[in-house]
Amino acid sequence: MTEITSLTLYELIKNIKEKKISSNEAAKSFVDRAEKSKKINAYVTENFENCLKLSKEFDDKPNFDLKLPGIPIAVKDLFCTNEVRTTAGSNILNNFIPTYESTVTQNIWNEGGILLGKLNCDEFAMGSSNETSFFGNVQNPIAEDLVPGGSSGGSSAALAANLTPVTIGTDTGGSIRQPASFTGTVGLKPTYGSCSRYGIVAFASSLDQAGPMSKDVKDSSILLEVISSFDKKDSTSIDFKRNNYSSELNRNIKGLKIGIPKEYRVDGMPDEIEKLWKKGIEYAKDCGAEIIDISLPHTSYALPTYYIVAPAEASSNLARYDGVKYGLRSSGKNLIDMYEKTRSEGFGEEVKRRVMIGTYVLSSGYYDAYYLKAQKVRQLIKQDFDQAYNKVDAILTPSTPSSAFKIGEKSNDPVSMYLNDIFTVPVNLAGLPGISIPAGVDKNNYPLGLQIIGKPFDEQTVLNIAYSMEEKINYKNNITDWWMK
């Protein structure tokens, strides 16, 4: 039979329920493979021994009614895990042991999931290539020296390398969808307010959302069903009726109206992205959807808006890292000097850059010109989508303007790095659900993704369209395990 590690989550659950595979066997397979895959650098903290122990306990007293019965799962190191080190990819949290559990991870453990370990990510989720992590670059399993995307780069790499059956990431401007696109995997950012932010290391609170990352669409529907919940501990969590995303998953999208926004045809976009998009439109038609041209006129203002709103919120959120109650402390002549040295040594370059931008745009005399202006433009961007959704049920776009790039290629030019998120950022600004599914390859055989954006709280339609298109696209990752040789 197929190796345990290459099974989808759905298949693994089925095998465990049918007692063909035990939880402990599954855990062992993933641990063994991780031991041979150190070169990927996916893990910041391994929880292997504990995972093996807990899987045995599950097998001794199995509960097959759970949604994730004894399934080992690795998660992005931005989720606080009780008594397991949580770093957010930063030196300043290098020794931080949370005393509480994030709601999203707690939901996974409640349904029988078992923590394999904590996955590498860009520092405080600020980056699009995983190169800002204090714990080093992550290799994209697709090819050597290729970035896995970011900020959930350890998650996308672990998934593509078969080190975990599914995983969770967080997405502030594209941090789930872009790495999914770069690794030929599926990544879903839910509607803002679907998944609790409690216990997730905060980056930009009005944009951050947790979401599933998986090998196929069905697996994302299973995991979304587990992690999406109303939570009193998050003041922006929304109490709406959540679907049973996996049992309601279907391919009946006949007659659905899918919008194609002309503004996403950006200058300098490679031909192959344009072709992929056209192919995607054909697939959607084949599935019975009706294609409608739409306009989202403020699209080109989304990135500049994001690069005011996100750093402003980050500078405020990151003010807590002062070297007093937890984390790194550097010594200083006095209290202020201690703060300044701690933050200078504890934060990496990109984080400092964003804290500085955020502090500047919020500083006296500049607030109206930058932050207020950005909030107004954010309103216009949201209104674009509101108007489009009067005409269509969902929107189809490319996920990224290019395939994965080489490690080091963009790390010296922040603006060119930021441009990576051009198609994903508007979705965060408007708080909408969006999924990236693998849809083809470029001339180097590197994966390319398509993005489906839905109406608020309409994850089910997004999943159903993705599920239908996935069948037509029939994408297969060709990963050679080069890092083991």
């Binding site: 990135l303 002549k333 804290v355 500047y360 930058y370």
Partner: protein, 95 residues
């Protein structure tokens, strides 16, 4: 508009991040290229637009003012870089 070295140093004071001279220069260059990109927003007239402050139209919920966590003082103090009995220690602030 350009952000000069003096402004960068002022901002780094506000952000409580100490900066070496060389790093400050590099940061000034980076910030200028980022703000050049941000200035695009000035093309838009937003005089009559309401700012979007929260994407989720929710009203803040109230809860009872009750302690919900058990006694985890030890665990919390364990994360502290410097402690003394039940207290966090900071450099002397009162002369």
């Amino acid at each position: 508009m350009t952000i000069d070295l003096k402004t960068v140093k002022h901002i780094s004071k506000l952000a409580r991040i100490s900066l070496e001279e060389k790093k400050a220069e590099k940061l000034a260059t980076d910030m200028n290229s980022i703000f050049e990109f941000i200035e695009k927003l000035n093309e838009l007239n937003t005089d009559n637009v309401e700012p979007l402050t929260s994407i989720a139209e929710t009203t803040l919920r109230f809860r009872d003012d009750k302690i919900t966590s058990e006694n985890i003082r030890e665990k919390i103090l364990k994360n502290s870089p410097e402690k003394n009995d039940d207290f966090f220690v900071v450099p002397k602030v009162v002369e």
